[in-house]
Symmetry: C2
Subunit: 468 residues, 2 copies
């Protein structure tokens, strides 16, 4: 009887499937139970048989669907080549930082801290609270929710010395992650074909956004303490650039921080050239020794554009950042954001504001600092002991990464590949250079992998260097 029912359901569904378009949703088990007067177990049995016959496929949590016919004709999309033409920008391969590693590998390639370093409880509570507010069902203003604008502005203002008028709430534009901010800033303030000064090495995501905007990169060498102001002056004078993109604090990838004098000198040069300093304060919350002191806090003439993100310190799921800009530059950037995405989810903004205004946020930042310090020091020590040929020239005072120089002549790509085969995933330095790499570097993230495996990681790198 149950066998008969199963067959009856299979037969009925096969007939239905033969006329249904592939991808159609199969009626739910509950509906079939009612339709065939059969037990749930019988219906489930029939569905398993249909799946085994490759007639349906089940997508957990979504439903069961008629499978696309295997005999689907092969399609030639060659016509698109003519329609699309050559790409404006080189189509970037995925950055090594975005690859997923096998679960048992030591992943030192990521651009993010490990989940256990995040204020997970604050984030979950804030999201649960935000889900009960109006922000869950309404749209937010193009410039952001005013309270979050005020918070971002006050954060920068708190670093402003006496005599400098701090940015106002209105100057802070809430955006969905700093990558969106970079894209908009480069489109709005630089534009296709025009020059943009960048440090070398610099953040690969910024180069990607600049490439998308058609901006021409002008690299300036940098190191601990920041770039030589004389080089910055020469580059402005030579190219007529009106903007300089930089990470003055805990730069990615090198970990370098500009000295206060360099910040002041560069800002003076930027002013003298009627230009913008685009300060990507990506690691503001990732301080280890001392605190982040944004160069932008020294400016009130609208020369500094400050970009601050919460993605790395709050949660990658809270895609919330801010651009602080004054004068017409603010309007130009806001117009670009509106055309690009209208507004940022108010729910994410509400949750982010909740997190950073909890008393627990300060506590979290203190703990975060200690964990980053321990991890940084442990990786430095592991490298010193187990991989003495990988030289870390800068001890970063914040951020997530060490920037290690391999012995001259090393084939960095080969070293990275061989490390990966041995279970250590790291990033080749090339991705952070706007031109040819100035040396054989690799970037090692100390904030993501299990620190108890740092000595093992260093030993793998050493063995690969020894064998190459």
């Amino acid at each position: 009887m149950s066998q008969d029912s199963t067959e009856r359901i299979i037969e009925g569904l096969r007939a239905w499937i033969s006329t249904a378009p592939p991808g159609s949703r199969v009626p739910s088990n509950r509906a079939l139970t009612a339709q065939y007067g059969a037990s749930p177990v019988t219906v489930q049995k029939a569905m398993r048989r249909l799946a085994a016959l490759d007639l349906v496929e089940s997508r957990p949590g979504v439903g069961t669907f008629v499978r696309a016919a295997r005999a689907a004709r092969p399609v030639d999309y060659g016509w698109q080549t003519a329609a699309l033409g050559a790409p404006q920008a080189r189509i970037g391969a995925l950055s090594s930082t975005q690859r997923s590693a096998t679960p048992d590998a030591i992943g030192m390639h990521s651009g993010y801290p490990a989940v256990e370093l995040l204020p997970e409880r604050l984030v979950r509570q804030a999201l649960a609270r935000a889900a009960r507010t109006e922000s869950a069902v309404t749209r937010s203003p193009a410039a952001g929710i005013p309270e979050l604008q005020a918070w971002f502005a006050s954060e920068l203002a708190s670093a402003a010395p006496a005599g400098v008028t701090p940015a106002s709430s209105r100057d802070a534009l809430v955006i969905s992650g700093s990558q969106s901010g970079l894209s908009s800033i480069f489109r709005a303030l630089v534009g296709p074909g025009r020059p943009l000064l960048v440090e070398s090495p610099t953040y690969w995501g910024a180069m990607l956004a600049a490439e998308q905007a058609g901006v021409r990169l002008v690299p300036i060498p940098t190191g601990d303490g920041g770039p030589d102001p004389a080089e910055v002056e020469r580059a402005f004078a030579r190219t007529g650039a009106r903007a300089f993109y930089a990470q003055p604090t805990y730069a990615n990838p090198t970990g370098a921080s500009w000295s206060r004098d360099t910040g002041v000198a560069v800002l003076d040069i930027v002013r003298a050239h009627g230009a913008f300093l685009i300060e990507d304060d990506w690691a503001h919350d990732l301080a280890i020794d001392g605190d982040a002191r944004p160069v932008s806090a020294l400016d009130d003439d609208g020369h500094a554009i400050h970009l601050r993100s919460l993605t790395k310190s709050v949660s990658p799921a809270l895609r919330v950042a801010a651009v602080i800009a004054r004068g017409p530059a603010r309007e130009r950037i806001l117009a670009d954001r509106a055309a690009e995405s209208m507004y940022v989810s108010g729910l994410l903004q509400t949750a982010a504001l909740d997190v950073v205004t909890q008393p627990g946020w300060r506590t979290h930042l203190r703990g975060f600092r200690e964990q980053l310090r321990e991890r940084r020091d442990l990786l430095l020590e592991s490298l010193a002991v187990h991989a003495p040929h990988a030289a870390v020239e800068i001890v970063p005072r914040g951020g997530l990464n060490l920037w290690a120089r391999l012995p001259d002549g090393s084939d960095v790509e080969a070293v990275v590949r061989e490390c990966e085969l041995r279970g250590l995933v790291i990033s080749p330095g090339r991705e952070w250079f706007p031109a040819e790499p100035s040396g054989p570097y690799v970037r090692l993230n100390y904030a993501n992998a299990d620190p108890s495996r740092f000595p093992e990681a260093a030993a793998i790198l050493d063995a690969v260097l020894a064998a190459s």
Copy 2:
């Protein structure tokens, strides 16, 4: 004693404020209570006095901050004019659809349905559940979470006729709202200076995104049933365009839907010209009579780019949409998205997927349909009875708006302004025309304002028309 304490706190804080940078956060009331050994009431009193003295300002929910000195020097941002140059695109004034109306006005200008039409309970529950998942603290893949990709693909596949290979999960790219999709599609598939066919009138947000991308618009007149395929053919032949952006179903603003024959004919023309049909299926879930049947479901050669959003039917806070594209076009769009914003918050994706896979979602869509129907019919009737000179030429079979033609010679801007003075906010038709408006139109949203005020709204419009 309490008086003394208050003075003591004020004195201490005044001294501190005199050295603190403006914008600094004042210690919390709790901290001050402890520091001064005073009662919370005393501390609050002191803070109120400091606020009255304009020395601090309190931002509810954020904290209290040292107020910026009133004597801040006026800043001249004129230097930015030279640095920025003329804007690439005209800097759009805010669309009338994005203004906020006074609370007692009848708001018929919005682009969104009223909150009470949204599946509010499903949204809040989904967000609360998502806050407990991994998606709250991890980043999601660039193309989206696979289950949501599968859902979007299956939705389009369910409309595919036999013999057409439906799009796969992989072809569906999750994006943060359809505006982002439009920007990326225009940048990736058209590019600066190249022509893009658009209907006239068409969605203002699409024109804004096209302008940002530097695309050249080629308008094609459209009406009920869609554009004349012969016009589409001529426009492709004349301009050499490789793409046509359209809203074939419940178009914004007209409410027009293409006939099936027009859809098939346009797709054939697009194929013959080796071009793309960019189908903005913005109102897929806003059907009233019949169901949305995307033209893209008829294509499996990669000529159709399908854009589907959940913002209007789920919640404006769940900025989740998808672009379905195949072949190199998919890669080109994905590369642009990655450069623009890396990835979409997985939390929002998880919550959106939760909503649309609940049994309550189907129930919601049925109720939504009935409410839209009632509102549409009530506004049609109100206009017919109370504003007979505002002619609605198309009864929309879905969407949120009526497109009303005012008497010839009407000064639309003046009518809109005068209506607003009398408490009715509507949008001038001009915003939806890529060139000069073809007639004196206004757009009336029936899904946002209180329907019991529709007769009043029609009467206001009538009175304004009579007086003008």
